[in-house]
Subunit: 170 residues, 2 copies
DNA sequence: GTGGTTACGTCAGCCATGTTGACATATTCC
DNA sequence: GGAATATGTCAACATGGCTGACGTAACCAC
């Protein structure tokens, strides 16, 4: 990375700004997953396990098919990590009440603990970034990120009533 | 994803907001790489090739070691994708002038064309997101993303003089 | 000019995580 | 009772990380 903006050419600036945006995504995502990946490796787990644990923790009692459509991977891919998490006691399953074909998933205490540790790291990183950027910036971040993701994924997030209001006063 | 914020508990809101941030990163990154991944697959290439092409296009004449420290992967991992790109004529190398041990990398016309197509997609996605979020939001996005990434990566981006000024008036 | 360091390359093998395709079982619904 | 659904499993393959070992050419310092 080097030799950047010098002259004031709107088209160039536009391209440069967009390229920076591309790199923001790449570099930020990399940093975001770095520490959890390390912690996971110590437990013989990988990033895929983190995702599964995360979303089960996020929505206890989630069905396998809901988890699949959240993750957008094949059931065979999920099976590999999920069955390991079940074997090693991070996750439990119980049959659905209404529909007994379902296996509803939830974290065991061990799973909750691991999820907490992993996510704690990302929460701290985000909290620091939010704090240093300020409440107004966080609102902008939210807006842009929501617009980047697919419409289906965006629908997971209920539109916020009043904009920030949410306690990010630095 | 469901059953979210109902009562006004600051701690809960904080946790919910941070969890949403975590998911923003995951869902946005997924969408961001989706289309390019499809296009790459048609050429028998993968995401790793995209990164290499991208950063060579970003900084023509970059050395292998600079590329390695940008990507933070091992030379063996880079070698696999880079030598394929060389074989298939997307990338060229020439010896360094000052230091003839170096292999300076640049895109061929074919590589430039592929880079353009791939990045065009991401630029369009970002441009749309920026447009819909508005200039102020973009500035917030930038601030938060810069704070998420590592200090070293952040240093790749020269601090902007005046905040936006950059032509994102929707 | 010799010897150590650096820049780059390559072979071999391992692991994680995605994919496709095929098939099995239990349950639900019409 | 039969089709559709929810889940699981086996097998094989591709991608893209990793480590370890080794090789060559160029540079640099004494």
């Amino acid at each position: 990375m080097a030799d950047v903006t010098t002259r004031i050419n709107p088209l160039f600036l536009r391209d440069e700004e967009l390229r920076q945006g591309i790199e923001f995504l790449y570099f930020a995502y990399r940093e975001f997953t770095k520490e959890p990946d390390t912690m996971l490796a110590e437990q013989g787990l990988g990033r895929a396990h983190h995702r599964v644990i995360y979303f089960i923790g996020r929505q206890p009692g989630i069905s396998v098919s809901d988890l699949l459509s959240t993750l957008r991977i094949t059931k065979q891919s999920l099976s590999r990590v999920l069955s390991q998490l079940l074997r090693e006691g991070y996750v439990r399953q119980r049959p659905g009440l209404r529909d007994r074909r379902q296996r509803l998933l939830e974290l065991s205490p061990k799973g909750i603990e691991l999820e907490r540790k992993l996510t704690e790291n990302q929460r701290k990183l985000l909290a620091r970034a939010y704090r240093e950027a300020g409440a107004e910036a966080v609102e902008g971040f939210r807006k842009v990120m929501l617009n980047i993701m697919s419409e289906e994924d965006r629908a997971r997030f209920p539109a916020q009533a009043t904009p920030p209001l949410s306690g990010w006063r630095a």
